[in-house]
């Protein structure tokens, strides 16, 4: 297996595992609260719809000339990957809520209970919520399977990696009989964002006619490069957030508490305020 194929398997597996964990939480919530048979019917219908999408679009994509395919699919993958990476960076920096499967499970369970009385037999609510959850989470995976697979003419390998991830998540969910809250979803999404952006950039540039120094070996520099840039952005954001929090804390000190110090020793009274200021406003804006 080549380095690019290992990247394909790893990216698809991680992306699919993350999305499967999220879909599993929804299915568990409606299945346990309302009807297992209806919820699982929704899962089956959504899986069939996703398989049909991959089966229909896969051959169409792989029939395109490789240069055209790479510039289109590489560009789409890069745009898509930057979305994942941006959200992952904001989560890692504490500026966006992290995924919490237990909280999502509680919300879905509450919504399922509030959805009204269940009829005997088929439960439309459980079917619809399961179908929608699996289809929406699965569409991202289908997109990644198609783009990665088509670019390397290995849609089958990408689909196998996705299927393996789904099976492992289902097995984990069946064993735990609860949402898989301990899966490091945010870290996995960060990794997927780095991989999608790196491969998208590599293939997009190749499709546009550029030749990377070292050929496929350039990925060994591109992936760590994107990773380091993303980590640097997280570090910068965290530092800026801490400074901003410190800045906001200054006015919170009661004016009454500061006044006697200012009156007694004006020179020393200036120190706390200066110390609380950020070293540079420009850095706080970064």
């Amino acid at each position: 297996m080549s380095g690019a194929e290992i990247g394909l398997v790893l990216s698809v597996f991680l992306a699919c595992a993350v999305e499967a964990v999220e879909a599993l939480t929804i299915v568990l919530a409606v299945g346990a609260t309302r009807s297992w048979s209806s919820a699982l019917s929704g899962v089956g219908a959504a899986t069939l719809a996703l398989a049909a999408i991959v089966a229909a679009l896969g051959p169409t994509l792989t029939s395109l000339p490789i240069g055209v395919l790479r510039v289109i699919v590489g560009g789409l993958l890069l745009i898509f990957g930057l979305q994942w990476l941006r959200k992952a960076i904001l989560r890692a920096a504490g500026l966006k809520a992290r995924h919490d499967e237990l909280q999502t499970y509680a919300q879905e369970t509450e919504a399922a209970r509030a959805a009204g009385a269940m009829h005997s037999g088929f439960d439309g609510y459980a079917f619809a919520i399961s179908f929608k959850g699996v289809l929406l989470e699965g569409l991202e995976v289908a997109f990644i399977v198609l783009t990665f697979g088509a670019n390397q003419q290995r849609v089958g390998l990408a689909a196998a990696a996705a299927a393996l991830a789904v099976l492992l998540v289902i097995a984990g969910g069946a064993a735990a009989r609860a949402p898989l809250a301990r899966v490091p979803e945010n870290t996995m999404k960060f990794a997927v964002g780095v991989m999608l952006s790196s491969f998208g950039m590599f293939w997009g540039a190749e499709g546009a006619g550029a030749s990377w120094p070292g050929g496929d070996g350039a990925l060994l520099a591109i992936i760590p490069g994107i990773l380091m840039a993303a980590l640097a952005l997280v570090w910068t954001l965290r530092r800026a957030t801490r400074w901003a929090a410190g800045e906001r804390a200054v006015p919170a000190v009661p004016a009454v508490a500061r006044e006697p110090v200012v009156l007694a020793e004006p020179a020393m009274a200036a120190e706390p305020a200066m110390a609380a200021e950020p070293p540079g406003q420009a850095a706080a804006d970064a």
């Binding site: 510039v71 590489g74 560009g75 789409l76 890069l78 745009i79 898509f80 930057l82 979305q83 990476l85 941006r86 960076i89 904001l90 920096a93 500026l95 966006k96 569409l139 991202e140 997109f143 952006s197 950039m201 997009g204 540039a205 499709g207 546009a208 006619g209 550029a210 030749s211 990377w212 120094p213 350039a218 591109i222 490069g225 994107i226 840039a229 993303a230 952005l233 954001l237 800026a240 901003a244 804006d285 970064a286």
Partner: protein, 70 residues
Amino acid sequence: MIRLKGFFTGVWEFVVGDDWRSALGVVLALALTALLADAGLSAWWVMPPVVIGLLALSIRRAAKGASHRG
């Protein structure tokens, strides 16, 4: 017609998301790469700094939005 519009809106939101500037930047960077490569010049160096720059600008916009909301 409404369904068609809804479909394309869905596809746009799915692929491009809420930051169209990054998507536009990627398209322009790929176009510049193609132009340089077509002229027989080295073109691989265009994408890495552009991608990192687009990511940093996108994060900056999102962080500013978050701080305004917060």
